[in-house]
Amino acid sequence: MKKSYSILTVLLITVMAFGLAGAQTSPSIIKVGISVPLSGPAGPWGTVPIPAYEAWVELFNKDGGFKVGNKTYNFQLVFADDKNSPEGGAAAAKKLIYEDKVNFIAGHWSWNFPSVSAVANQAKVIYLGRTGNEAVPGGVYDPKKQPYTVFANPSLEEFVSDIHAIVEVFPNYKRIGISDSNLGKGIGWDYLDRDLDKAKIRYHHEWYPPGTQDYTPYITRFNEAGCDIIYGGGDVLAAMMIAKQRWEMGFKTWKTGTSGAVLDPMMYINVSGMEASQGLMGQYFGIWDFKKTKVDPKKIQRVKDAMEIVSKKQGKSYTYTGWVGWLPHHLEILAQAMEKAGTVDNPDAIMKVIRGGTFDTTLGKFTMSGAKTYGSPIVFGTPGAMSQIQGTKEVYLSEHPLTHLP
């Protein structure tokens, strides 16, 4: 009888131990929706980062995820194609929230901020996106109606920082030409102009119709305005064509580039030509190269490991760094905000922590602006970093910390 009790006790302890261990290794899942273009001409911007996002989240979860109280949580990603259109954005946000039941929307960058933000805020789903013409005063963003929006990537402010970073590294420039499609024309550019005027940066704007392939007329106008650098608003096609066509027109010493990270240097080289694409500049999130911004070495390693995993899977070196500044940065903010707020499902409590909170992400340690900027928290202090193409590689060029717009 005694023996039986002993066996029973051992069995019970074993079951309990395994049960507890099981409970410890099965964390709760926080679903994060990502609404980006997955098809159409803007598709590469959405599809290229996905393998890196997935690898990074896997590593983040493997490293223990995050804890709220005694409970461990892991992130799970759900993607939806926003087709880079307002109606596509609204449909993607609705699908993510009401069908996939995501807890947050993050990693969103495309032009349909208003539609995604409207759907997310109505459902009280915290949404981490970017600034642009819509976000600044006079744009469609209304902080009272959209209290769950976080401008985790201040794209407009990053663009300003890019220009500062460029003129700092090329101080003998004559004039910087700023090019963008007239779709991007809006109130945000007034803020940009004001900042550049204040900094006494010489610049000239040119706007072209969307879908333009022939930039000869615009390059001619830049030349007549005395420009020797052309920096664009994130249109890869325009960047490749301006680099190529300015070279063909004989302006071989001009520097060219575009906001948005370099997708793959070989794509630019194949389209623009080896010589024409040399020195082509893009935004850079190779955080291991940062000189002015300090990033936690553990976070750098995780990013490197994720890129290594993707490189192995794809059988070629994965060099795109843009992903580092988007979703991982957003997820770090969310995880730390939930830990500090002590809740995963109270959006008001989480937003309270995000406003003015200090976070340590893949872009360094910084304090969110609270409601001082446009009525929504914005990340400031993260780097506006630039790279350029050298040979067939992308290398660090310069860095200028994000500052507040007037």
Partner: protein, 283 residues
């Protein structure tokens, strides 16, 4: 007066619009339909040239010829399998619009959506004093001259060409004279699509290659046709030339407003002279 570079640019644009417009008008003159997927044949042409060069190592001029033959065959298939089985111009138009999405989607799945480039083909720039012209663009001018000369001879010196012209003017009479309009329409569809594909092929080193590259050339060739006259082959050429130069010169002066002005001009032509500058009557 715009600088020389703008006029050269206008010439390049003209070349491509006139080749595209010529193919479209050719199809319209015999089949009586506007092939809305004409731009997608342009796109497929560029993709085939890309792969024949990068994967098979075929020389550029030969790859353009191969592209023309392949896409001519595809055009004939589209005519046989789809167009011939649909009644009514409107429905045929809708079918060719559907083909835009079919070809774009298919090309996206097969070849991916990332931009591809052929900068390795004809690299370098020809510099004559203040004028710079890439060899790639010089090739566009030479190609257009060759194609237009070839088309002139085909249409004026060959039996098929004379039959095309006769059928375009009087289809019933041509039929009475023993011309097989059905057979001729297949040939014309093949030539029209081949022209679009070869135009895409010659432009492949000039612009990025992607499944979505056909939209703008299609719209511009349509504008060229409206300017020149919808049923007129001469109109397509002149319309293409006018549009190419206008596009460059207006963009130089008015920047992003150039498209607005171009479309206003087309509306004005439609109001004042609906048959276009060369006055070919509508079918």
């Amino acid at each position: 007066m715009p600088p020389a570079g703008i006029w050269i640019d206008g010439l390049i644009q003209s070349c491509i619009y006139m080749t595209m417009a010529f193919g479209m008008v050719l199809v319209f003159s015999i089949l009586g339909i506007l092939n809305w997927a004409h731009g997608q044949f342009y796109m497929l042409g560029a993709l085939i040239v890309y792969y024949t060069i990068t994967a098979a190592g075929i020389p550029f001029p030969l790859s353009i010829l191969i592209t023309g033959i392949i896409i001519a065959g595809l055009g004939i298939l589209v005519k046989k399998i789809i167009i011939d089985h649909i009644e009514g111009d409107l429905y045929v138009g809708v079918a060719t619009i559907s083909l835009i999405f079919f070809f774009e989607g298919g090309a996206s799945v097969l070849f991916g959506i990332e931009d591809k480039g052929l900068s390795i083909v004809l690299p370098g720039v020809l510099t004559l004093g203040p004028i710079s012209l890439s060899y790639q663009k010089l090739a566009v001018i030479i190609f257009t001259l060759m194609v237009m000369t070839a088309m002139y001879f085909v249409l004026n010196r060959t039996k098929v060409g004379l039959a095309i012209k006769a059928t375009a003017q009087q289809p019933d009479a041509a039929s009475l004279y023993g011309i097989s309009v059905e057979r001729l329409s297949l040939i014309v569809m093949g030539i029209g699509c081949a022209l679009a594909a070869m135009a895409g092929g010659i432009m492949a080193p000039v612009y990025p290659i992607s499944p979505f590259m056909g939209g703008i050339p299609m719209i511009m060739s349509l504008l060229a046709i409206v300017i020149g006259g919808i049923g007129s082959l001469t109109g397509a050429i002149i319309g293409g030339i006018i549009l190419g130069f206008l596009n460059s010169v207006i963009a130089y002066y008015l920047s992003y407003l150039s498209e607005v002005v171009l479309f206003l001009l087309v509306i004005f032509i439609l109001l004042v002279r609906p048959q276009g500058l060369f006055g070919a009557s509508l079918k």
